[in-house]
Structure formats: structure tokens, C-alpha cells
Subunit: 233 residues, 2 copies
């Protein structure tokens, strides 16, 4: 037995929801399509899965093509499989979400793909079911970030607590108390002091921290709420 007979084979694509953070707002990396179908419209970055390519590898390849980055944080969210989701031909789509630091990426690669960073609040309508994908990815981000310390991938390697707070405020669109946020975060023991300070500040310079990767991996499931319960209803 070396193959399954009489079974349908289907096209399988990857679509990437790429989140970035510029210090103020959550942004999405979107492309204005200069190819068919739906040329001229906005969509997520995507591509077809190849014959000999694991799904995760495929997602990483597509992200690399657009951003020039390897070792990005990616996470499979779900697969979309409605028969008529792609009007050209039935295509399944595995949705991945990625978190990257906007400052890191390769601007040439982005430009050559006709892509741009667009804030969530100004997102245009996207093709197919891509709007729904973005909504689901955002929900996932909120859900996870409410329970786990998340989002370090969206910041520089060395970051300050106020920067991380800004990120959380952007994710949930609410203000958080500076003092409580800081204490809760430090109590996790996830941050290592670098001894340096943020020179960009015009006033008191905040301490720069680095993520303790080992502890982050091992204690990821030590749940932890950054957001008041009332937010999550």
C-alpha cells in the first residue's frame, strides 16, 4: 500500500496574520495585491503549501519572503475550510499568527511585495474571509495575553516596563494602572535587569529589562491575569 486510492486532493494555503507594535498602536502587515485574483485589493500575506513542506515550515517561508526575518514567533490558529471561501477554487487555508518587532523587519522585502503596516483601527476590508481571520487572531491575542505574559516578541530585546504596559493597553484598548502593572510583572520573576536605562526618554529614564527566556518557557502556564476580570466578559 503506497497511496490512498479514490480520494479527493485539495489545495492548501497558508495565510499569515502579522502583528507588529510601534510603541503606540498594534499594526498589521498587509499587502495590496498586484496579482490575481482580486488584484488591487488588500489581503493577508499567504501562499500555497508545497508538496514536501511541513505546514510550520511553509508558514516560516512565507514570513521570511515578506519580512526577511527567521525565528519569528508563529503560532497556528486554525484551518478555514468552507467549500466556497475562495471564489476561484476550493482552497483550505491554515491561519498562522505572527508577532514581530516592527523595527526589525526588512523594509525592502516589504516594499517589493507592496505591503504596509496598517493600524488595526484603519484596516481596510480584506479579500475572502481574511477579515474574519484577523478578528479571530485578535481574539486569540487578547485571550492569551490576559492569562500569560505575552507580547515580548513585539518589543525590542531590551525593553522597559512602561513600554510593555503601552503594548497591553493597545491590545485591550484600556488604560492600566502603572504601579499595579509594574508590581504584577516583576512578581513573575520573568524580567532580568540589564542595569541600563532607556536613553530615549526626555524625563526620568526607565530601567531596561530583558526577558528571562528559560523561566518564560517553563512557567508559561503559571497563569496570571493582567486584565481585570471585568474586561473579559
Amino acid at each position: 500500500m503506497n497511496h490512498y486510492a479514490n480520494q479527493t486532493r485539495l489545495l492548501v494555503a497558508i495565510d499569515c496574520i502579522i502583528f507588529g507594535f510601534d510603541g503606540q498602536e498594534i499594526k498589521l502587515l498587509l499587502i495590496k495585491r498586484n496579482f490575481e485574483p482580486e488584484q488591487g485589493k488588500w489581503s493577508l500575506m499567504g501562499g500555497f503549501v508545497k508538496e514536501d513542506e511541513d505546514l510550520d515550515v511553509s508558514a516560516s517561508r512565507i514570513l521570511y519572503e515578506l519580512t526577511g526575518l527567521t525565528n519569528i514567533y508563529v503560532e497556528q490558529v486554525q484551518i478555514f475550510g468552507n467549500v466556497r471561501r475562495d471564489p476561484v477554487e476550493r482552497t483550505l487555508s491554515v491561519m498562522y499568527f505572527a508577532l514581530i518587532n516592527i523595527a526589525d523587519h526588512d523594509t525592502d522585502a516589504v516594499r517589493s511585495h507592496n505591503a504596509s503596516w496598517i493600524s488595526l483601527s484603519q484596516k481596510p476590508n480584506l479579500i475572502f474571509d481574511h477579515d474574519e481571520m484577523v478578528a479571530i487572531a485578535m481574539d486569540r491575542l487578547r485571550y492569551k495575553a490576559a492569562l500569560h505574559p505575552l507580547g515580548f516578541e513585539l518589543l525590542p530585546e531590551k525593553f522597559t516596563i512602561p513600554q510593555l504596559q503601552k503594548l497591553y493597553e493597545a491590545v485591550y484598548n484600556i488604560p492600566l494602572d502603572r504601579r499595579n502593572f509594574s508590581r504584577k510583572l516583576l512578581s513573575t520573576g520573568l524580567l532580568q535587569e540589564t542595569g541600563e536605562k532607556d536613553e530615549n526618554s526626555a524625563t526620568k529614564k526607565a530601567m531596561l529589562y530583558r526577558l528571562n527566556q528559560d523561566r518564560y518557557q517553563s512557567r508559561f502556564n503559571a497563569f496570571w491575569n493582567f486584565v481585570p476580570d471585568s474586561m473579559l466578559v
Copy 2:
């Protein structure tokens, strides 16, 4: 443009992790394969996605074939896509988990598929990557049940609080305090009294409740911890 040229098409299967509860233990519905490949070994229930079938429909069809049940609680977990996960031929597999009340299902359909309910503690090794799928599904169940009131699908329509407690104890393999469990649960307002009592008990008969479906839907994300934080590390 009516199709995508020069792209690989792939086999896509569904595999179902079917959880049940018998009042004491969490069980899995597994089949002893009387067909190739891997005839004679144990596996999850599965099947190929058809040409004109949405993924969720495909999962429901496969569950119906085995259990005779419709309107089962199913949830897509993730897609497995490693190139060599199926030794016969590359096959992607979309993993679904289902929760059903063991007492409900169609025993003839189960028997004709050579399937059995097997407690997690006695699970045999399964084919391909199905062991990994079960582990991931169990993690998902634990994760969700820690945050949301979950598992009503595993119980009869009318159930007692002690029954639900037994379920939670089985999911986490830990004892829970009867009194605290009961109060926490009632405080959610998710349970409606039926006025009836459980006649099966030999001692004091517990009150039977019914799930308030509307409230359950709308407040699912009102997070809620049944399990001490220490369990979740």
C-alpha cells in the same frame, strides 16, 4: 480565472478525539482497525474530507457514522501537517475533539466499527501521531476547563453538582472541596434548578440541575477558575 494552476493538491483527513465520562473516569472512543493500513492496531476515528464538504460538516459526518449522534459538541483543535506523519502517503489531518455523554450513543454503530470506550489510564498506543493528538486534546480540555465552566456535554441533560465535581476531579486527577465547588458553581448563575432529585443515590438525594444555555453562551468568557492556581503550573 477558474482554478489555480501548477499547485500541489493534498489529501486532507479528519481525526476525532472523542471524550466521554462514565461518572468516574474520562474515557476515549477508539477503534481497533479492521482495515488497512495498520490493520489490527488502535486508532482514532477518522476519514477523508470530501470534495464538497466543509471541514466541520466532515467532522460531524464522521462522528455520526460512529456514534449515531447529531448535534454533538465538537471543536477544531489544530491541523497536523508533517510531511511524513502518515507512512502511506502525505496526508494532512484536522484534529477535532468531541465531548459526548457515554449513555447517549448508539451502541450498534460503535460495535459495527469495532470501537470501544477505553479509560485514559488504559489507553493503548495508537497509530501514526494519534497519541500526540490525544495528549494535545487532553491539554486543551484541562486548559479550557480551568477557565470556563466546561463539560456539561459529558453529563446527562439533568445532572447534580456532585456529578460535575466528579468530572472535574477526573479531568485533573485531584480532589476538590465539595462545599467550595458547589458555591463557586452556583455563583455563576449557570445552573437552573429542576426541582427534581437524583433518585439513584442511596443516601441523601442530590438536586438535579439543568444548564442555562443562554447564559452559558453569553457569559462563556466570564473567566472563572475552578482549579487552584497551583494546579496550572
